[in-house]
């Protein structure tokens, strides 16, 4: 079971600010793939990913208990 946090405009695409997913042992790329199948979130290709508050690479593996955050760069100012 992993917790996925969504920031900024991703929240609107998902309809909430977090999801609990019954996943484990998958890569960030695979996780993104699953989310894209279920939700209309094309911009998931352009976000930063953190696992347990640390910058994550697409090939990193997510384990049960991890907290994944998808953080789209915000441009306004």
């Amino acid at each position: 079971m992993i917790t996925v946090l969504f920031f900024a405009q991703l929240q609107e695409a998902i309809g909430k600010d977090r999801l609990i997913m019954e996943e484990s042992g998958i890569t960030i790329t695979e996780l993104k793939g699953k989310l894209k199948m279920e939700y209309a979130i094309p911009q998931l290709d352009h976000v930063m990913t953190a696992v347990n508050e640390e910058y994550a690479l697409p090939t990193d593996t997510v384990s049960s208990g991890d907290i994944v955050a998808f953080i789209p760069p915000v441009s306004g100012g």
Binding site: F7, Q9, A50, Y55, I71, P73, V74, S75, G76, G77
Partner: protein, 336 residues
Amino acid sequence: MKDRYSRQELYKPIGVSGQKKIQSKHVLIIGCGALGTMNAESLVRAGIGRLSIVDRDYVEISNLQRQQLFTEEDCLKQLPKAIAAKEHLLNINSSVTINAYVMDGTSSNLPPLMEDVDLVIDATDNFDIRFVINDLIHQYTIPWIFGSCVGSTGMSYTIVPQETPCLQCLLDATPASGATCDSVGVISPAVQMVVALQQAEALKILVEDDESLRTKLVTFDLWNNMFHTMDIKRAKKNTCPTCGENPIYPKLTYESQTKMEVLCGRNTVQVRSKREVHMEELARRLSEIGTVHQNDFLLSVDYHSFRVVIFKDGRVLIHGTNSIEQARNIYYQLVG
């Protein structure tokens, strides 16, 4: 006036010696909108020695909801933001030297302003210019503090050349588009939070307390009560074209610049950018502004009195103006 900074001198990590340092430093703020005015006011109250402000815009009524310093009168007079800000800042602290530059910061005109600067604060509203700044501050070895906000969210991150990953490391390419205040709005607490994060880092840099610098990227959402930090050490790339071993500063080349040209006799400005456009995402976002028409090759939307046409290859036509300045504003307001 000797008591003026007493509350800052009493704060131990600054003290009397830190206050002297602050008063000897020069900060460059790029952008004078919500983040820019508030950062500027904060530094001027803190007694910064010199402050340079760059901005291309004029004060508009829709700015007043969140942009400090500006008044209804500035808006009626249509003052350039940098000029209006300077005037208010001098009323607050007449001992600060303030340079106001009314211009569109680019890789061509920003370099001279980098000389003699101790710190750059990001108060811009688009990633094109942020990547240019990222290259410049590495070329000139100046720390800078990235900040951005939209809606109730925001982020900040302190970049120190030769120490931390840079913006290029973090975001492999310019984001195709970021949500902008002109498409999804913004509330002032998001601005205040980003400035709080930026200003704390600014004071640490100005008093040379580098050990206290935050080493994480902060993202927050005040409406949803989220506050998230991300350790980004792993993002640093030795091959980074900006901060790696063989820097080429890619955004400082002529080719990489976003170019604007007036199309003769057509009341239209054409924008050519190197950035990728994600049509679905853009269409979804622009539909908040007006009816979007879309086909396989382009999408178009009406915005105020303009018609904006965006092609898949990144080319954009802005109909209804012959002004490059105006077109540039519209471009960044919509595409981000």
